[in-house]
């Protein structure tokens, strides 16, 4: 085993059976289920009279349809359709359910790592495309459809074809004002939203080693926007420090055994990849999306591209349609563009370090009069931790709304949406047509870029607000 990739080592440890043609039946260590696909899958299973094989490895939390309003009653259609059956069926199947507004509750990709359920080398699935987030801790994690969720519930396994391996090597130190979000948006812009199709991505190199675990989660989160279901960073001392002492993490002798095992997981020196790409991270500047695909992204000091200058007819049409939808013109700068809403949250950027960074920007400043700005912490525990260090006071003093945890404005599935024609700078992951609500216009950026837009009332190069 001296030429194995990190990905292959973890994959092989989970193979229950070789199904031929590159397909394997893989043991699932953690099956995270939420109130959309999880509820539907549990209902399917109940309809077939089937039981969950590994309820002890299954964890349920409603996050998509839960209101983030303070003092929300948590009743109504969405709860009756999505949340209540999840709670009831989880109880019936002996599955742990994290209750709204209690310790452990939050966005499923935030609470998994936070509770120590997500472990290096673990295999995690969830009926959600951003499951790749858990790769930040060195887990092999990907999103699946509702039928596949039902399969995992009933069999404790997932069927998957072995992907090819892509290693993205990052060199150089990030400039001031540049975050993990900018790094991955830059890669998506350069390579395109389909570049990672069919690959498991390993993020590697000195830049990645220097990133915190929360930054690595942001990076892995957006793997799917690169077209890759799986993105992962091999675990290191930072990972072990992050996991150590968490509620569900191994303790004492079991901890020592686990760490010894996890240390063997990194890619061997001789490991070969189907594709390797280099990224000069030191040259990356703060990013902002201008269109309706995450690949429609530029550095803040660049101008909006001209559809006429694109290579193919299809691309010309796509760029023109995107610009029409967002109401922008080619050649213009994104800087100075007035925004109506600001959203700091989602499984991409709602962790404590994201909130700290955003608070640093808005501290002592005021949200522009015409802007509505929301902060939705990723979990109950993130919220408590933020409040204990006074971040909520900073946000509220600046005029941002301090919300409860949930997916909220990232996807609008809880009824919280951006109105048609309104422009929102958002720390979430998708700027698709109608993603934040019918006719909404989304510009993706980092938490500090979103914070800068909130206080300036327009899209701004956050570096202008930072100490040199």
């Amino acid at each position: 085993m001296d030429d194995y990739t990190f990905f292959d080592k973890v994959w092989d440890q989970h193979v229950v059976a070789d199904l031929g043609d590159g397909f394997s039946l893989l043991h699932v260590d953690r099956n995270f289920i939420h109130d959309l696909s999880g509820t539907r899958a549990l209902q399917n299973l109940a309809g077939q009279g089937r039981r969950v094989l590994h309820p002890d490895l299954t964890f349920a939390c409603p996050d998509h349809t839960v209101s983030t309003a303070i003092d929300a009653p948590h009743t109504g259609d969405r709860y009756e359709i999505c949340v209540d059956p999840l709670r009831r069926l989880a109880a019936d199947q002996g599955i742990k359910f994290f209750e709204i507004g209690k310790h452990g509750f939050g966005i499923i990709h935030v609470i998994g790592p936070e509770l120590g359920l997500t472990l290096p080398g673990g295999l995690i699935v969830c009926g959600d495309s951003h499951t790749s987030t858990h790769g930040g801790l060195g887990a092999l994690a990907w999103g699946i459809g509702a039928s596949e969720v039902a399969h995992v519930l009933a069999t404790g396994t997932v069927i998957q074809q072995r992907p090819k391996r892509l290693r993205l090597n990052f060199h150089g130190a990030l400039q001031t004002g540049v975050t993990a979000k900018d790094l991955i948006l830059h890669v998506i812009g350069r390579e395109g939203v389909a570049a990672g199709d069919g690959y498991a991505v390993e993020y590697a190199g000195p830049t990645i080693r220097a990133l915190s675990i929360e930054e690595r989660m942001t990076l892995c989160n957006l793997s799917i926007e690169l077209g890759a279901k799986i993105g992962m960073v091999a675990p290191d001392e930072k990972t072990f420090d992050y996991v150590s002492g968490r509620e569900y993490a191994p303790k004492a002798a079991l901890w020592d055994a686990a760490v010894a095992f996890w240390r063997t997981l990194e890619s061997d020196d001789q490991a070969s990849f189907d594709l390797e790409l280099q990224v000069d991270a030191g040259r990356v500047r703060p990013q902002i999306t201008w269109g309706t695909s995450p690949e429609h992204v530029i550095a803040i000091d660049e101008t909006i591209p001209d559809p006429a200058e694109q290579s193919s007819t299809e691309r010309k049409q796509a760029y023109a349609a995107a610009l029409e939808y967002v109401g922008l013109t080619p050649g213009a700068s994104m800087q100075g563009l007035s925004v109506d809403q600001v959203f700091i949250g989602s499984c991409t950027n709602s962790r404590l370090s994201d909130l700290r960074a955003a608070a640093q920007i808005v501290r002592g400043r005021k949200v522009a009069d015409h802007v509505t700005a929301w902060v939705a912490p990723g979990s109950f525990d993130v919220k408590k931790a933020a409040e204990s260090e006074g971040l909520h006071d900073i946000f509220e003093a600046a005029g941002l709304h301090w919300r409860n945890p949930g997916c909220s404005l990232c996807v609008g599935s809880n009824g919280e949406t951006v109105a048609a024609g309104q422009r929102c700078i958002s720390t979430s992951n998708r700027n698709f047509v109608g993603r934040q609500g019918k006719g909404s216009r989304t510009h993706l950026a980092s938490p500090i870029m979103a914070a800068a837009a909130a206080v300036c009332g327009q899209i701004t190069d956050v570096r202008q607000l930072m100490e040199p």
């Binding site: 673990g122 939203v193 199709d197």
Partner: protein, 204 residues
């Protein structure tokens, strides 16, 4: 599970890249509509005008394409969210086969769970097929999964590759869960051995 063997139908060209699942089925519809009702909202934002009437410019609203069971589309079709309702919406609407240069991987997997055949062909072939379908009064194509061939209006044949396992799944309409449960003993054995190898995974 439904099967797929051969399909003879009108083919509709919708040649755009990176069609995401939010566009195929908007979130509020995925959320509130029953699976059987999902097709009413397939491509909702493209298909209807703001006043709720059919958008006459949308190709799938125009005869003969309004009866198409084959969709010819651009690269990375079905990217984005994992929502399986995107497949339910298209299937419910009558789409049985989608031909594209590539697919979003989760969407691609979801197709096989629902009897919908995704066919991958090289980009130039897809462009040719879209032109043939778009410029023909009766653009009837023949998709044969048994032979792995798409036959188009001028008689030309386009062979396609598909994983044998997935081909059989569609031909025989296999239920994945039932098939996997035949291996229950192996699944349980793996877990027993793994509990010794990686005990920290298993919470007491």
């Amino acid at each position: 599970m439904v099967t797929f063997h051969r399909l003879v139908s009108v083919a509709a060209p919708l040649l755009r890249a990176n069609v995401d699942t939010d566009l195929i089925i908007p979130m509020d519809r995925y959320l509130m509509a029953a699976r059987e009702q999902m097709h009413h909202y397939a491509f909702e934002t493209l298909r209807f005008l703001p006043d709720g009437t059919d958008n006459p410019d949308f190709i799938l609203n125009q005869p003969p394409y309004d009866k198409a069971e084959i969709l010819i589309t651009g690269a990375n079709f079905g990217c984005g969210s994992s929502r399986e309702s995107a497949v339910w919406a298209l299937y419910g609407w009558g789409i049985r086969c989608i031909i594209a240069p590539s697919f979003g991987n989760i969407f691609y997997n979801n197709c096989f769970q629902n009897g919908l055949l995704p066919v991958v062909l090289p980009e130039p072939s897809v462009t040719t097929l879209a032109q043939l379908a778009g410029g023909n009064a009766s653009p009837v194509f023949d998709v044969d999964l048994t032979r792995q061939v798409v036959t188009v209006t001028d008689g030309a044949e386009y062979g396609f590759e598909i994983d044998p396992k997935r081909r059989i799944q569609l031909l025989e309409g296999l239920d994945d869960i039932g098939v996997t449960l035949n291996q229950l003993a192996a699944i349980k054995r793996h877990r027993r051995e793994d509990e010794i190898k990686r005990p920290w995974i298993y919470l007491k």
